[in-house]
Amino acid sequence: MTDRKIVLSTKNIAKFFYEPVKFQALHDINFEAYEGEFLTLVGKSGSGKSTLLYCISTMDTAYEGEISIKGKNITGMKTDQLAAIRNENIGFVFQFHYLLPEFSCLKNVMIPALKLGKYSHQEIEERAYQKLKILGLDEQALKPASKLSGGQQQRVAIARALINDPAIIMGDEPTGNLDSKNTAIVFDIFKEISKEFGQTIIAVTHDNDFAKASDRTIELGDGKIINHKKVFE
């Protein structure tokens, strides 16, 4: 399986915080994520999982080292370029859904695609319906996002993350607020999209079962990679 394509790689990532005191949150992080891989990041609280995720998300640009996405070194790019890269290549799912409350579920899902502008409005609407259907929410499509249950909202957020068929879907504790039933649903969706569509999942999690069932788990401790279990080897 060593011929699998690398979609994201990091080289010697170090991250410092200067407030309130100088503190190194990440030390020399090197890892690769492959196409179609379901990767989880675990570790104790404060070990630097979120910090690492935000660095590779392109949203945090204040780090040392290099990050490549789809073979392109994105370190040092301008924020507008990075925004365009995120729009096209990265979908996000957070612990909280971050849906726009005034918009319908459908519109929430459509927004990143309308921003990308690759398809016509009508095609985008059809695609958004499709994504909602995959997540079992096609009947809620026209409801305002604020009128859904927590689990439903999180699934709408996943549909939004999927709308532009990004190469990578990143999640910071995407099941953190969900009960075991909804966690299982989200897990199955992640498994399915990584296997069926070849999209890469990189998810921070505290849920050991969730991590164990993923393709590979990277464990962080004090800002360093302390366990790097490679399933593909």
């Binding site: 949203m59 924020t79 507008d80 925004a83 995120r86 729009n87 957070f94 971050y98 726009l100 309308l114």
Partner: protein, 411 residues
């Protein structure tokens, strides 16, 4: 909707109608008052300019008092003593020499639309024992009326009846009323030079200005010259009009090249009135601009609070690929909509205020309040309303664009 930025902005506005309306209302009041105040000020200025031009041409040419120059001895030699004489007015006569030629020269200038000669003299109007002091003006009445629109103020008779009528006189309404003399009646006029004439009233004017109406009279140029015992070449003032009264000062140096007499534009002559206008306009302007700034703060506040409430939305939009400039566009567009609604309502409010004010009767020479609808002020107010809301919207929008999504997601 084509643009997702605009769609988001419109959704924010629709779901926050009340805040939008409050912000717009601030602009409405600001722009309404701005338009009203500036219309007031412009109406006043026009009125007072109109008053000035009842008696003044754009430019007047006259012989100024000459002051004797102090005699200075030779400065180069220490031996010579210096003699200094107290300056005195040395004018022998206020007469303009050879006015015909000067008038001809003036009329040949392309920028001169009108030029007339005038003879001023002091008079007493008598009827029996009643006597009124006043001033007479000798002019070519038809040309004068073209320049000063005198015909418009005639309440009896016609300016033309003075033409070739050496015995005719046109008097102000105040004189007519005080002496109880009407059309075609005789009035005794005596000049300060001791000339007394019985003249026939051929016209009565009412300019609304009591100074004019109680003192002024018009006679033929040659009658006036007789009153002051001067020959037909005597002229005291020459009045010149140019195409644009606001630019008349530019022509003063050009005219000065043609004549040694004093050339003075109306702004210099009426500097005191104009400076009063200026002070009033500045005050009204300052008040209306302050109100506009308060309105702008309304938009700034409401947009800032919207942004604070929507900070999560901004973070996720930025995470999913919206650029800083997209975020700026969203919120500036919201400000623009508030501003547009507010400005249009403001123009309506201002119009209502102007309409009401224009129906307020002030009495006296002013009549109805001098205020009107001026398209230029509408355009200025509209542009100002939009520019101010754009500025007020831009700063919070830029703050929104700088939101760091990582900081939000960490919470």
């Amino acid at each position: 909707m084509k643009n997702i930025n605009i769609e988001i902005a419109v959704t924010h506005i629709i779901t926050r109608k009340k805040q939008t309306l409050v912000a717009a209302l601030g602009v409405t009041i600001g722009i309404g008052i701005f338009l009203f105040m500036n219309s007031l000020s412009s109406g006043f200025t026009k009125y007072s300019k109109g008053e000035i031009f009842k008696n003044n041409a754009h430019i007047k040419i006259y012989k100024n008092d000459e002051i004797s120059m102090p005699f200075m001895g030779n400065n180069d030699s220490s031996n010579s003593s210096q003699v200094i004489i107290n300056p005195q007015v040395t004018t022998l006569s206020k007469k303009i020499i050879n006015p015909e030629e000067l008038l001809k020269k003036l009329k040949n200038q392309t920028y001169v639309t009108h030029a007339i000669a005038q003879v001023n003299f002091d008079v007493f109007y008598n009827r029996g024992k009643a006597q009124i002091k006043g001033n007479g003006i000798g002019v070519d009445m038809i040309a004068y009326s073209e320049m000063f629109n005198t015909q418009k103020y005639m309440v009896a008779g016609n300016v033309k009846s003075l033409q070739g009528n050496l015995n005719g006189i046109i008097i102000g309404r105040g004189i007519s009323e005080k002496l109880n003399l009407g059309m075609d009646e005789n009035i005794t006029v005596s000049s300060s030079h001791g000339v007394v004439k019985v003249m026939k009233i051929v016209g009565i004017f009412d300019t609304g200005n009591s100074m004019n109406d109680n003192q002024k009279s018009y006679v033929n140029l040659s009658s006036a010259q007789q009153f002051i015992k001067e020959g037909p070449s005597y002229v005291s003032t020459i009045f010149v009009n140019t195409p644009n009264s606001d630019k008349s000062a530019n022509y003063v140096p050009l005219l000065q090249l043609l004549t040694p007499y004093t050339v003075e534009d109306w702004k210099t002559t009426n500097a005191d009135v104009l400076s009063g206008d200026k002070i009033r306009n500045t005050m009204l302007g300052a008040i209306s601009v302050s109100i506009l700034i308060v309105a702008a703060f309304g938009i700034y506040n409401i947009l800032s609070s919207t942004i604070m409430q929507k900070i999560n939305d901004i973070a996720i939009l930025k995470a999913t690929g919206f650029k800083g400039s997209d975020v700026v566009k969203i919120f500036v567009f919201e400000a623009l909509v508030m501003g547009l609604i507010g400005t249009i309502m403001g123009l309506i409010l201002g119009s209502v205020l102007i309409f009401i004010m224009s129906h307020v009767y002030m009495g006296g020479p002013v009549g109805y309040f001098p205020i009107g609808f001026e398209s230029q002020l509408y355009i200025t107010s509209f542009i100002l309303g939009i520019v101010i809301t754009l500025c007020a919207g831009y700063f919070p929008a830029r703050k929104a664009a700088k939101v760091d999504p990582v900081e939000i997601f960490r919470k």
